[in-house]
């Protein structure tokens, strides 16, 4: 019984407490609502906004730099770029165009994968289906095809520009090598994509291309020292590429997997390294920086330090 009494007292206490807290809650809710109404007018001051963007993007040099440095996508990019180095008549914009085309190819390629089966029975039928029946299928396939052609051209022009401006020289020699690897990967993407329509053109092109692999030194059955290494059409490098001794179902499936998954992944990793190294090696190489008269400041240092990219020495 005393226990009951005690609990009764507590009950009344609890009731009062509940009333109090309800009243308090009413006040805090209205306060919060008012606060939120204020916050909605300036969303960039909310905790939520700051947790995502962290930095105020005011028009001042420090915040501009921070907005690049603190962004996971932008941080590969230099925070500041020499104005003269970005002129199109110097860079031709070919590196950026190549990357843009890679993004286009990835997007259209993934969409094509929704309708394409990499099997001997269905592959060419799916191409006809895409060309004739799939909504926007013809557009999609042609975007993929033309972007692929353009990417090859852009990669070569990028390489040509880098060579002609001497941008492969120290300290960029490592990035040149990464670029050569990326070019080879682009060629391999092009080659593996050739077989996928499973038409006469692609089939014979890949027949010819993989027959060249027979002549690989040491690892090809018709190459130098291939016979001495014990290479036959059933155990050489061509056999591993095709998954058999003839261009057949295994070859189609392998080309598909290399084309859609393995090579794009490897290329994306090297692209990350490539862009990051551009920043780390001193930005885009270019002519010596030029200052506007208005930018010349009064005697901050006795002599202006001109950073001359060594590639253009």
């Amino acid at each position: 019984m005393p226990e009951e009494n005690g609990s009764g007292k507590e009950k009344t206490g609890v009731l009062e407490k509940a009333k109090d807290s309800a009243a308090a809650l009413r006040e805090t809710i209205t306060e919060k609502a008012k606060q939120q109404a204020v916050e909605l007018k300036e969303p960039e001051k909310t905790q939520l906004y700051r947790s995502i963007f962290r930095v105020k993007h005011d028009e001042e040099p420090r915040n501009r730099a921070l907005s690049v440095l603190s962004n996971v996508f932008f941080h590969l990019h230099p925070a500041k770029v020499n104005r003269d180095a970005t002129k199109y008549n110097f860079t031709w914009g070919m590196g950026g165009i190549t990357f843009y085309l890679f993004v286009v190819l990835t997007f259209t390629g993934v969409l094509l994968m929704f309708y394409y089966h990499p099997t001997k029975v269905q592959a060419f039928r799916d191409i006809l289906y895409l060309e004739n029946d799939v909504p926007f299928g013809k557009l999609l396939r042609n975007m993929h095809r033309w972007a692929a052609h353009l990417m090859i051209i852009a990669v070569w022009l990028h390489m040509f520009r880098v060579f002609m401006t001497g941008s492969y020289k120290r300290p960029r020699e490592f990035n040149w090598c990464v670029g050569v690897l990326l070019m080879v990967l682009t060629m391999l993407l092009s080659f593996t994509g050739y077989l996928l329509p499973d038409d006469q053109l692609g089939f014979w092109a890949v027949t010819v291309g993989t027959n060249m692999a027979r002549a690989t030194p040491l690892l090809g059955n018709e190459g130098p020292f291939g016979a001495q290494m014990g290479m036959t059409p059933y155990n050489d490098v061509r056999f591993a590429l095709l998954g058999g001794s003839i261009v057949d179902a295994n070859a189609l499936l392998r080309a598909y997997i290399w084309h859609c998954i393995a090579i794009p992944l490897i290329a994306a990793i090297f692209m990350g390294v490539h862009f990051w190294r551009v920043r780390k090696d001193g930005g885009i190489s270019g002519p010596a920086p030029v200052m506007l008269e208005s930018e010349i400041k009064e005697e901050r240092s006795p002599r202006p330090v001109v950073l001359r990219p060594s590639g253009m020495g």
């Binding site: 014979w204 010819v208 060249m212 001794s245 057949d248 295994n250």
Partner: protein, 192 residues
Amino acid sequence: MSEGKSGETTSAQSKAPAASASPAPDAKEAANAVNIRRRRLVWACIWGYLGVNFLMFLRFFFPRALYEPNTVFDIGFPSDFALGIDQRFLMTNRVWVVREPDRLFVIFARCTHLGCTPEWKPAENKFKCPCHGSGYDSEGVNFEGPAPRPMDRSFVQLDPTGKITVDTSRLFVDDPRAGVNHFNDPGAFLNV
């Protein structure tokens, strides 16, 4: 208790200055040596494991079973073939059967340039490769285009019932540039 404590502290105190004065190089080096050996062992295990996995990865790309046409097959009796080029087994087995007055042989239908399948042009009495234009005469001997040598010939044999057995995994090569000609070897043709 107190004695023990004081004893411990004194011993610790007596040890500490000695250690700081001379940093006991032998003991430290001995400890480091053990660590380095253990570290090397661990790294060897890691690299060995990764290396074996890489070899497994490479081996994975060489299938054991193939779903390809059999390279050994029967083409019937010699009397089934009239003089000239027979295309019956081109689509199924990639060969032409050539019957001449005194011999029969089987051409493996692969261009010796880069491996396309040539076409038989009866009107021009020649084989023509659509890929890069190599031309071969009715015996499969190259006379135009980039092909470096005549088309290879398959192994042929009469089985006990008198039928012709062909094996396209055994090819006979005639390479004038290398100075080898296996077209007259036993198995490269049948006397009929």
